[in-house]
């Protein structure tokens, strides 16, 4: 499990962020003292730091500069300043990424994953399995027994979301929202079409009736 250190002086935000990261399979801690932040970070030795730009003792950019003298721990800057200039400045001080507040939580998660992946620190993604089938979302391949099925990006995303929420009702809006986060801006009709294709492909591979329609609510993988 990757350890993430939150450096954020607004306690309410830090706590919510910790809760959010923990519920998304990360180990997360936050600092409560803001003296010698750079030293504290190094002592803590996390896999990644979420660093707020405005802190009570020193500003984030200086902390980052100090940190970069002895460490290359990945850092994502969090800030309410959102000018292009701040972003460029932070990146030039050695930040790995930059997100402005208020951040969309799932976008934050995607950024964290992307940075960890880029730096090769990501735990190998858990293969999503259900009965006989295994989904490799990144490659868009569904394995059923010996058979390999090629899925489109949208189909893979739909299936992956259903697999992550087994035995739960997933609403159409949830699915659309998830697809939008992965840059597939589908509408109701497109979702219906994609859903039918997923079903057809599953049917071809002998997995019939695994996705149930809950009329007026959504879908469920049983």
């Amino acid at each position: 499990m990757n350890r993430i250190l939150i450096v954020e002086d607004e306690l309410a935000l830090a706590q919510e962020l910790q809760y959010f990261l923990v519920s998304n399979q990360y180990e997360a801690e936050y600092l409560t003292e803001f003296n010698n932040v750079a030293k504290q970070i190094i002592a803590f030795a996390p896999d990644m730091v979420l660093l707020d730009i405005q802190l009570p003792e020193a500003d984030g950019q200086n902390i980052l500069r100090e940190l970069r003298k002895d460490s290359d721990i990945p850092v994502i800057m969090l800030t309410s300043k959102n000018t292009e200039m701040d972003e460029v400045l932070s990146m030039s001080f050695g930040a790995d990424d930059f997100i402005s507040k208020p951040y969309n939580p799932s976008i934050l998660l995607l950024h964290i994953e992307a940075v960890l992946k880029r730096l090769g620190k990501q735990d190998s993604p858990k293969a999503l399995t259900y009965k006989d089938m295994t989904l490799e979302e990144a490659r868009g391949i569904l394995r059923v027994g010996q058979m390999e099925l090629v899925l489109t990006k949208n189909e893979a995303a739909i299936l992956s979301y259903l697999l992550k929420h087994k035995k739960q009702i997933v609403t159409r809006e949830e699915l659309i929202s998830y697809l939008w986060d992965s840059e597939a801006f589908v509408d109701d009709n497109t979702l219906t079409v994609n859903m039918n294709r997923v079903r057809k492909k599953l049917q071809e591979s002998g997995m019939e009736d695994v996705i149930h329609t809950k009329r007026g609510i959504g879908y469920m993988l049983e």
Binding site: N104, W180, D187
Partner: protein, 336 residues
Amino acid sequence: MTLRMFIKQKMGVLCAAASYLLMVRLFGYACKIRTDFLIFVSVVPLLLLLVFLGVEYYRKHRFYKELFAILEPLDQKYLITEMELAPTGEEEKIWMDILYQVGKSMREHLNETEDAMRELREYIELWIHEIKIPIAALQLMNYNGNTDLKKQKVQLDRLYHFVEQILFYARADAPEKDYLLTDSNLKQVIHQVLQENKTLLIGNHVRVERNHLDVSVVTDSKWLAFMLGQIVNNCVKYKADDRNPEIVFTARQEEEKTVLWIRDNGIGIREADLGRVFEKSFTGENGRKQTTSTGMGLYICKQLCNKLGHTLSVRSEPGVYTEVCIEFGRNRFIEM
């Protein structure tokens, strides 16, 4: 003007007169000219000069006395040029004229500032009323223990939208440049905007179409994202009730520029209002039907576009569509 000041000012003339007298004396001695004639050519011009100076002094003295008499009790000193004052000398006329022009430009400047202040105050007041709505909604939800997160999210997004708007309003009016022109990919910026407005767009079942967006333009991506956010919000705000809303983004690269069209199938804008949509606080016919129009979104977009050097325009057919068009120039300087 005191006598001493006047004499000091006329010192040159007095010196010239003195040297004239001296020369007449020397010339008289040298040429043995008759003394009574010498006295005549010395005294007469001298007397004439004194009379002229005396008259000039009297007029100047009176003018400045009058000027100070008016200036002293005046509350707003810069209004002095508006007073009935007849300058006597040519020099005074020039100075009064200069003073008048200086005062006029100052008053114009003052008026502009006062107008801007008043507009800002009006906008802030309007803005506060607007932002109170989502706050009130959240307050009620909190009180009722409403746990419908989706509804809360809609209100949060509205709060965020308004806060962004006032931030960019401040930026649009500020003279300093806090933007950065870089190569930005239109697709990436639009994706970001769509994701930011996800709740609004999905909630309103908006169909989004994207055509040829994989082009890069020279812009400040943050500013562009804000502008597109305003435009997308307008698309939803002014959607037609009888059909599913859709937004079509289309980009085309031309020789000297890249053009981005954002077209919706909403209620459109009346022709009479079309020319005025970029005016400050203009809400038009549609704004009167909608209570949440501040008339600021497109105004701010226009200001930002002007700063960035983009061209912003709108076309529409009432009841059919509205199409916003942004033209990005090619900046060769940056390309190099």
